[in-house]
């Protein structure tokens, strides 16, 4: 399996490929991923220009370990195949498919990615895929989409188009997104892939943004799409395990390891009933804490 399938993706920041000033050093903000956009942010007559910028950025800019996702144009355009050729030749880490509706959409992209990897001599399987669900139909098909390709590491909700399709608008309360969010995270977990939330576009309401991130964090999402670097520290803060959670997770892991050796299955830690089912969660907490720079332990 490509080791990047499960990498940390708390913050995935969109950047317009047409703007050299944006793509030259976004890594200073330390997002987990950047999403270099060839689609909506790029004006129709600059679609070609964005590709040359993308190719050279991928080739020449050291993004310092930040995942480089490329959002290609929709499968209903005549742009997406060339987008994939450019992105794969440049050596991107993954492709984000917009407006995904079916497993077949993912497979079409997969075939183009395979062809591009072959054409440009890239290691087979190095380019991953994620699918953005932007319609009621896409959300309904979430589970089949999640299982469409071994390269697919996750699905993302794209709230703007999705709410239009529902014949409503983004309200700021999250009510209109509740069904999709719940459905998608369940589908993603059932399929064993990651799940990412939509952007929050009101940059003047950082408190609203914080509440939004708290909600999706509680729901189990792996991360959120970001439109401005200012949003990154808030996401990371919310996703960073709290000191008491880290201490608890450490105890759980240690206790389970020792008790297992002693043949004890159920016991208590800090008054809470603990069994083997807690093990993976505690391990995940420690891994996240380590990735967030707040845990330097050895578990």
């Amino acid at each position: 399996m490509n080791p990047n399938m499960k990498r940390l993706r708390r913050s995935m920041m969109f950047l317009n490929c047409q703007k050299p000033g944006l793509i030259k050093d976004p890594y200073v903000y330390a997002p987990d991923s950047i999403m270099l956009d060839l689609e909506d942010a790029v004006a129709e007559r600059e679609k070609d220009a964005a590709r040359y910028s993308l190719y050279h950025a991928l080739q020449e800019i050291d993004y310092r370990g930040v995942e480089r996702v490329v959002r290609i144009n929709g499968l209903d355009t005549d742009l997406w195949i060339e987008d994939i050729r450019c992105a794969v030749a440049g050596g991107c880490d993954s492709i984000r498919i917009p407006k995904t509706e079916t497993a077949a959409d993912v497979q079409k992209v997969e075939a183009a990615v395979v062809a591009a990897e072959k054409e440009f001599g890239a290691e087979e399987g190095r380019t991953l895929i994620m699918a953005a669900l932007e319609s009621a139909r896409g959300v309904m098909n979430a589970f089949e989409i999640c299982q469409a390709s071994p390269r697919l590491f996750g699905i993302a909700l794209s709230g703007g188009d999705y709410t239009k399709d529902l014949q409503t608008t983004i309200s700021g309360t999250g009510v209109e997104l509740m069904g999709a969010r719940q459905h998608m995270i369940i589908a993603a977990r059932a399929a064993g892939v990651q799940c990412f939330d939509t952007v929050y576009t009101n940059l003047n309401d950082m408190e609203g943004f914080r509440r939004d991130v708290e909600t999706i964090h509680t729901m189990g999402f792996d991360g959120k799409s970001i439109i401005n670097p200012r949003q990154i520290p808030i996401v990371h803060e919310i996703y960073t395990p709290k000191p008491k959670d880290i201490i608890f997770a450490e105890k759980v892991v240690r206790e389970i390891d020792t008790k297992k050796a002693m043949g004890i299955g159920v016991f208590t830690v800090d008054g809470k009933m603990i069994d083997i089912a807690f093990y993976d969660g505690a391990k995940r907490t420690l891994a996240l804490a380590r990735a967030s720079g707040v845990y330097k332990g050895d578990l």
Binding site: K24, D25, V28, Y29, D62, L203, N228, P229, R230, I232
Partner: protein, 517 residues
């Protein structure tokens, strides 16, 4: 001769100016000198009238002549009308070879360029020069030298008599008919008149120019009638909206916010951050943001500031209003909030001399714990350049940079690694204005570098693990890896300006830029 920051200062310049090369920050510490005073014409008759009908009459009465030195302050910043008004009259009178000894010159003074070209103005002494005058000097249009000196250095040059001002023009928001001047109360308030104080003390003639004549006595006076020869009332001395704008909105630029956060972390994790600490910061987005984030930590830890000093802004005044700083010492008001805050009894006006003069018996800057500064360039020797652009053209001012940097126990320079394609952290700055020995910490968006002379600070920051620490060479290498190593800018041989150190020695020279083809 090579000076203490490794800059070659040609003998001809040492000879022409009678100056020494820079030999380190404290070279003149304790060196005695006699303070120089001006010629004074006493006013004893009780019916003496100081009011003159216009600038022309003032010039005539003050015996304006070719070759004289005149001075101005820059409290009206980009809204200043005084310098151009006086220079136009001098130009009309056909006077030549004027030395313009302003505290600073900016874009507002672009109209003076033709007077440089025709020989009306042949020397400039200022903190620095922005706008077209800077370009003109760098193009070699000024016949004599431009001397760039810090706010403190300027006071020194006046009190030692190195600069002899024939006529000082002091724009005053309010004045009475006998020359008691205040920085507030009129239609063009600037809050304080700190930079002019020394001109009142040292100039042979002092002319107050106001657009708001008030009944005698205009008190408490910021500059006293005892120092003023004439008072001239004009329609307008400045453009209020360009003097001080509303407080800058706190920045939303994440890059600046990150640098502000690093800066705050440096402050709160070094030993001077304790009850009663002192602090100065500037007006840049990151500086203001760092004051705001510092405030939060002061609140959390219950630590109060003893004094804040310098050019002041709203966030500093907010600290005062909230009782989180004991007193503010004001040399310049950068926004309307700072202008109006001067009515707070704990908001004190101080003179530029008290603020930063290296040649008195101790200035405020010497008592600073922290100063937060910006810089156009910082090199691997921690030297800063705040006057000459990376393209070789004069474009900025020393201000209080070298004064506060030397004085403060912890000098932090905030500087994005790259300005467009230009690497701000470089091998050698274009021109040295502040020596590396004064600079302790450099904060960039790519990491924080500590001057190796300060391993005490480095140790604190390592222990706190609060900022991404890099060496200054690492930062330079990162910059060069991204943008490529810049070619050195080509200069002509001719020296058009000197960067004077605080103590009057020569820190560096500025040469005419070569035409690029």
């Amino acid at each position: 001769m090579r000076n203490a920051v490794g800059r070659e200062i040609p003998d001809e310049i040492l000879k022409a100016t009678g100056k020494e090369p820079f030999q380190g920050n404290n070279y003149k510490n304790g060196a005695p000198f006699r303070r120089q005073g001006p010629i004074i014409r006493p006013v004893m008759e009780n019916d003496h009238n100081k009011l003159v009908k216009d600038i022309h009459e003032a010039l005539v009465k003050c015996r304006a002549h070719s070759g004289m030195t005149i001075s101005f302050h820059h409290h009206f910043r980009e809204g200043d009308l005084i310098v151009n008004m006086v220079m136009e009259e001098i130009h009309k009178m056909g006077l030549k070879n004027i030395t313009l000894a302003a505290t600073s010159l900016g874009k507002a003074h672009d109209p003076l360029v033709p007077m440089i070209e025709d020989g009306t103005i042949t020397r400039i002494e200022a903190s620095g020069v922005r706008g077209k005058i800077g370009q003109a000097i760098s193009d070699g249009k000024l016949k004599g030298l431009a001397i760039m000196r810090s706010h403190g250095g300027r006071v020194r040059s006046l009190v030692t008599g190195e600069t002899k001002v024939d006529i000082a023009f002091i724009g005053a928001p309010t004045s009475d008919d006998y020359g008691n001047l205040r920085g507030i109360g009129g239609k063009t308030n600037c809050g304080v008149l700190s930079y002019s104080h020394v001109d009142g003390d040292c100039a042979e003639y002092v002319v107050a120019i106001t657009d708001c004549l008030v009944p005698f006595p205009n008190f408490p006076a910021h500059i006293s009638m005892t120092k003023v020869d004439y008072v001239c009332v004009v329609d307008a001395i400045g453009i209020p909206e360009k003097i001080a704008t509303g407080a800058a909105k706190p920045t939303t630029d994440q890059r600046k916010l990150m640098m502000a956060e690093y800066c705050t972390q440096v402050v709160v994790n070094t030993p001077y951050f304790k009850e009663g600490f002192s602090y100065q910061t500037g007006v840049g987005g990151a500086s203001i943001a760092s004051t705001i984030s510092l405030t939060k930590i002061m609140e959390e830890r219950g630590i109060k500031m003893g004094f804040g000093v310098g050019g002041l802004t709203k966030p500093m005044c907010d600290l005062l209003d909230r009782g989180m700083v004991r007193v503010l010492m004001d040399t310049q008001a950068f926004d309307l909030d700072a202008v109006s805050n001067v009515i707070n009894p704990a908001h004190h006006r101080i003179t530029a001399g008290a603020y930063a003069n290296p040649f008195n018996k101790g200035a405020f800057v010497n008592k600073l714990d922290y100063v937060i500064l910006a810089s156009l360039e910082v090199d691997v020797h921690f030297n800063c350049n705040v006057v000459v652009g990376s393209d070789g053209v004069i474009t900025g001012a020393q201000g209080g940079h070298p004064d506060t940097a030397q004085g403060a126990k912890c000098t932090i320079v905030i500087c994005p690694l790259l300005q467009g394609r230009i690497p701000a952290i470089c091998t050698d700055v274009t021109t040295v204005t502040t020596p590396g020995e004064s600079v302790d910490v450099v904060v960039t968006d790519y990491g924080v570098a500590v001057n190796p002379n300060r391993h005490d600070l480095l140790e604190c920051l390592q222990k706190a693990d609060c900022v991404p620490l890099k060496t200054i060479e690492e930062l330079r290498d990162i910059a060069y890896a991204i943008v490529g190593e810049p070619d050195p800018v080509q200069f002509e041989d001719r020296i058009v300006g000197i960067i004077e150190a605080r103590d009057g020695t020569i820190m560096d020279v500025v040469r005419q830029v070569k035409h690029y083809d």
